[in-house]
Symmetry: C2
Subunit: 336 residues, 2 copies
């Protein structure tokens, strides 16, 4: 049995869609046990279930609250309680589609970091024309130092190997030119660190080449990473809308449009966090899955399955071991 | 008659496509006079024309040369000569699809900056679902300070008004959340400056909302801006390829595909610098149009027309006057 603490109050569509996602996951997966954490009122809507324990939390965090304030002023919030269940060893993972800054802060505060990691980071899986790729950091750390990017590369490579099953994933540094000398101050310095590391580093990767599959791990700071993801969503949505407008002009194009729309929807799903079931926060001492703020029931169900898979794969322990090995390498010791 | 200096040696497809673009532009536009600047060998391929003067330059700059080296070691390069023609008052604008870092450095070195501008920036026009938008900076300045972003906003707004004819364009700051407190260190500081300015600032804009048209001026540093553009190209290209793959599975989808492909090509063109005829470098004391490195003849022709339009609109003078007026505003004086 895998036990997961689910923050019922987090997300734009909480608690309704979150609870519906829980119901769907429980139905599909026989070896899943859920702690549903939320207000008594929210939880009262969920029927009793032998694989569910309801945990009452009188407070919850809004989507736009500042992490430091939320931590200080709401010690009895649902997200905080969810993490305490993991800390106490009752649950094996936390899933939340709530305020990701607060989830990040709670994870650091309650679970702490793995040895050798100074900045845990969000890893997002992207579809490409070749193998899938991991973009790290997708939004946890907006201001980074070069050695943080090196740590993201190490964690991203492990994730690509262990979870996506990719052999010897190529690591690329997101920049504005392919030559190593190109980029901003941060990227130029990170390029030197990555080049000197024992990682399978293939150099700079341009924005154009993320989706053509030039690398399986795309390393960037969380500000740039988050903008990349959002721009990708925006382009796909605008493209869909422009196609629709083209077709509206021409009644004969309707057959074509229905075909294009199916393909577009498929692509849009593949660039959408919802379909990938949430993104793991790597580098903390526990399994934490961050769902998209716009998560619906399907997204929550997928996020629960992702969390379950992480626990089954014993990923935190594997990351800890690998980071230990990396730490003993003289190249990485120098910069930690 | 409008006179433009064209760097024949700049771009991945130089000199052939550059010269062909020149030929097309001369044919279409009767009041265009071109200085074609390049090696004697390259220029010998171009037939004599009463509205063309060939200017021999024995050296040229490669696409991947470092700007400082290129400036020092190649004083007789084609791009340098092109700028000298403007400096001497013979030509009214420079167009180059060559190494954009070198073009930027030559522009600063030869023409200098407009009063009040510390960092000239590249403005790129993007299609959106509503009015077109200007993204500034699209790649000239990879490491910025908050007041540079304020200057980009001022120049971008003037460009949107004068060139795109947009009334009271809304200025958005590209960030990872809509609330003003969200973003990296640079963006949070720039948000304060923009909020205090007399500009029509609408706050943070997320990557998703660039193409939905939430603002007509998108302000960001050149690293983030360039990545946005390249990611957009990449998503559009990958989408096209994925659609193609979907259709290949199903012969009946061919009619639909041909319709979708047309629409996709149209969209791809609209996100491609080539169709917009190059991007102006704003804030230098002269008209400078930077073409996409992959420019073909059509792109060069469009870049020449863009340069011509800038000269006809007297845009540099208008920018100078507007910057003077802005400078006299107490709000902006404080931060310049």
């Amino acid at each position: 049995m895998i036990t997961i603490a689910l923050d019922v109050m987090g997300g734009d569509h909480a608690p309704r869609e979150i609870l519906e996602g829980a119901r769907q996951a429980l139905k599909t997966s026989e070896d899943l046990f859920l702690y549903l954490v939320g207000t008594e009122e929210a939880l009262s809507a969920f029927p009793d279930h032998r694989r569910v324990e309801k945990v009452a939390a009188p407070e919850w965090v809004e989507m736009d609250e500042a992490p430091s304030e939320a931590l200080r002023k709401k010690p009895r919030s649902s997200i905080r309680r969810a993490f305490e269940l993991v800390k106490k060893g009752q649950a094996q993972a936390v899933v939340s589609a709530g305020n990701s800054g607060v989830t990040y802060a709670c994870a650091l505060f309650t679970l702490g970091r793995l040895p050798g990691v100074s900045r845990p980071a969000i890893a997002t899986v992207l579809p490409t024309l070749k193998r899938p790729a991991v973009l790290i950091d997708a939004g946890a750390n907006v201001d980074c130092k070069p050695n943080h990017l090196l740590q993201f590369a190490i964690m991203g490579a492990l994730f690509a190997e262990k979870v996506l099953g990719l052999e010897r994933p190529r690591i690329g540094l997101l920049s504005i030119g392919e030559e190593g000398g190109k980029g901003n101050f941060l990227v130029k310095r990170a390029h030197v660190l990555l080049s000197e590391s024992p990682l399978n580093y293939v150099g700079n990767v341009e924005g154009r080449h993320i989706y053509s599959g030039e690398a399986e791990v795309i390393v960037c700071d969380g500000f740039v990473g988050n903008i990349c993801l959002k721009v990708s969503e925006g382009v796909a949505e605008a493209l869909g809308e422009m196609l629709k407008r083209e077709v509206r002009r021409d009644p004969l194009a309707m057959l074509g449009f229905s075909l294009a729309r199916r393909a577009l929807t498929r692509f849009r799903r593949r660039t959408d966090w919802r379909e990938y079931g949430g993104a793991p926060l790597l580098g903390v001492n526990g399994v934490v899955i961050i769902g998209h703020g716009r998560s619906d029931a399907r997204a929550i169900r997928n996020a629960l399955f992702t969390a379950k898979r992480f626990v089954e794969l014993n990923l935190v322990e594997k990351l800890r071991q690998a980071l230990d090995r990396k730490k003993s390498s003289p190249d990485l010791q120098a910069i930690s």
